[in-house]
């Protein structure tokens, strides 16, 4: 039985092992490659002992992983009869789990697509959406990067396939040690953050990221990589910049506008341009333990934990 502290240890180990450990694989595809990893991946948050009457499987968005873990941990402290296991793996993975019927709740940092809904319906699930909070996507650069702010168009030209900006000098800054190449850090292709960023910043579903980006498998990995790489730029959830020695660039909608730094307030008042809601999906209207858990998440108690971690809550 995991105590609260060992959860953090497990999370730290998971981070140390990076990438692979975040994945949980539905039993149906536990082939030789992934089966041994599955054991590592589910971070059992609490309960799980003989006393637990109901178990909830929660999986999906890496952006939401941190808050999902804290929610599970706090909720189980108060409700020892419930055991909740939480895993990351990306929004797409969560939705896939919902479609395959291996999950109770899918975390998703974007809306379900029409295709995904169709597949879920075909498999006999009726996905119900629950908005549980908001997230700002911050643009991360090294603390040694002198760039004062960046416009949406500039971000687009850095990330877009065939985009015109590949050097820091094109943005008018001189990087330390002459590291003029921009190291572009992105996410694995079925991350919700990746999908959202593509639509919101690159100009739609049909846009493509440039080749050669470093594709990280977790929200935190992006920030870690920026921390280690002076000439890098990355995008990740606002909350992941907390307590890390990196800069979050203020963003302007158009060049010449007043730059807005990402924060809970600027996301909530709508002035920060790259922000989105966070969702949890259930198959059908939630019943029993799922319902109680989701009700608690949107209550003041659950929203308080969300805000403590640096995510904008549903209401202030």
């Amino acid at each position: 039985m995991f105590a609260a502290r060992s959860l953090h240890e497990a999370a730290d180990t998971a981070r140390l092992l990076k990438i692979r450990t975040r994945k949980d694989t539905p039993p149906v595809k536990n082939l030789l490659l992934t089966s041994s990893l599955a054991a590592l991946t589910t971070l059992t948050s609490c309960g799980g002992g003989a006393g637990a009457a109901s178990r909830l499987q929660v999986k999906g968005s890496d952006t939401m992983l941190e808050v999902a873990q804290v929610w599970a941990e706090k909720y189980c402290d108060a409700h020892p009869e419930v055991s909740i296991s939480v895993a990351g793996g990306g929004s797409g993975g969560g939705i896939a789990g919902l479609i395959n019927g291996t999950l109770d709740i899918a975390n998703c940092s974007r809306e379900m697509t029409a295709e995904e809904r169709a597949k879920a319906t075909a498999n006999g699930h009726d996905p119900v959406e629950h908005k549980v909070g908001y997230d700002g996507i911050a643009i991360f650069v090294s603390k040694d990067n002198p760039l004062p702010s960046i416009s949406l168009e500039q971000i687009k030209q850095i990330y877009l396939d065939g985009g015109s900006i590949t050097k820091w000098s094109q943005l008018g800054v001189k990087m330390p040690e002459g590291r003029d190449d921009i190291v572009v850090i992105s996410r694995q292709s079925n991350s919700g953050t990746y999908e959202y960023f593509k639509e919101a910043v690159l100009g739609g579903k049909k846009a493509n990221f440039r080749n050669g980006t470093l594709d990280m498998n977790g929200s935190k990995d992006v920030v870690d990589q920026v921390l280690k790489t002076t000439n890098a730029i990355g995008y990740s959830g606002l909350a992941y910049g907390k307590g890390v020695a990196v800069r979050m660039l203020p963003v302007t909608k158009k060049e010449g506008d007043q730059p807005v730094a990402p924060s809970i307030d600027t996301v909530l008042d709508g002035s920060y341009p790259i922000a989105r809601p966070l969702f949890m999906y259930t198959s059908g209207q939630p019943q029993g333990a799922s319902k109680a858990y989701l009700d608690w998440i949107v209550s003041d108690a659950g929203q308080g934990h969300l805000m403590e971690l640096g995510y904008p809550p549903l209401r202030k």
Partner: protein
Amino acid sequence: MAASLGELDRRDRAWWTDWVARVFVFGGGISAIVFIVGIFVFITQQGLDFTLHRLSWSEFFTSINWRPTGHPETYGALALIVGTLTITALAMVIAVPLSFGAAIYIGEFARGRQREWMKILIELLAAVPSVVWGVIGLHMISPMIQHWLQPASGVGTNLLNAGIILGLMAAPIMTTLAEDALKAVPESFREAAEALGATRWQVIRRVVLPHARPGLSAAVLLGVGRAVGETIAVLMASGHAIRIPTSLCDPVRALTSTIAAELGETEHGSDHYQALFTLGMLLFLITFGINMLADRIVRGARRRA
């Protein structure tokens, strides 16, 4: 006075033990075949529909646009194939001199207890889990590359890093195999050469190495197989970026790490899922081919001997 059949039939305890043991050992022996065929059938069947009907082979082998979630999806694996090949080549550049040097030292120079110790240590090195190698790449070699080489890419997880890690990972097993190959050279050959006045190095260079060549080739090939198939360490050390490398310090992406990073998140049976199995088939064929080749080299040598 012929004994009746009943008396000859001694199905006693020993007979049954023998029977059970035979079935058990046969099962164990045949299991390798069952598993390898089973794995091949599984991989093929999982990806077959897509591979045969919807995959554009010219795109697969000539485009670097691996965009399984794009609109439209594109499955260009060229950068992944090149990534795997370049990492493997670099790993061999590192592993071959290291492992052959170690094998020659252990086989020809080290004696007695020192030799035993070295063999044990090398076997221990071979048992280091690959994720540990990955952590070393990510947290030790990466800062070293950034600090000393100051790569233009600015990134410490790159082709060079992955090549070093894989080279170090493949070296122990190659050393063990190479040492076996050297050991198989009859002692009389060395004695004959020494009797003719050859120096230690001349004996090794002119007599031992040429004679052991098939075994050494097999050692290299199995090292290549190990490097091609390695996954997690490559994922952590390579930078995982889709591009054709133009310098040692460019981040790259391998076939294996693409499967590992993406498979857990794809929907079962989708095109993306099946495309990853196409990569799996490709990997299977590459490693199968390498192992067959190594086997043929060793067998061919035995037949000639």
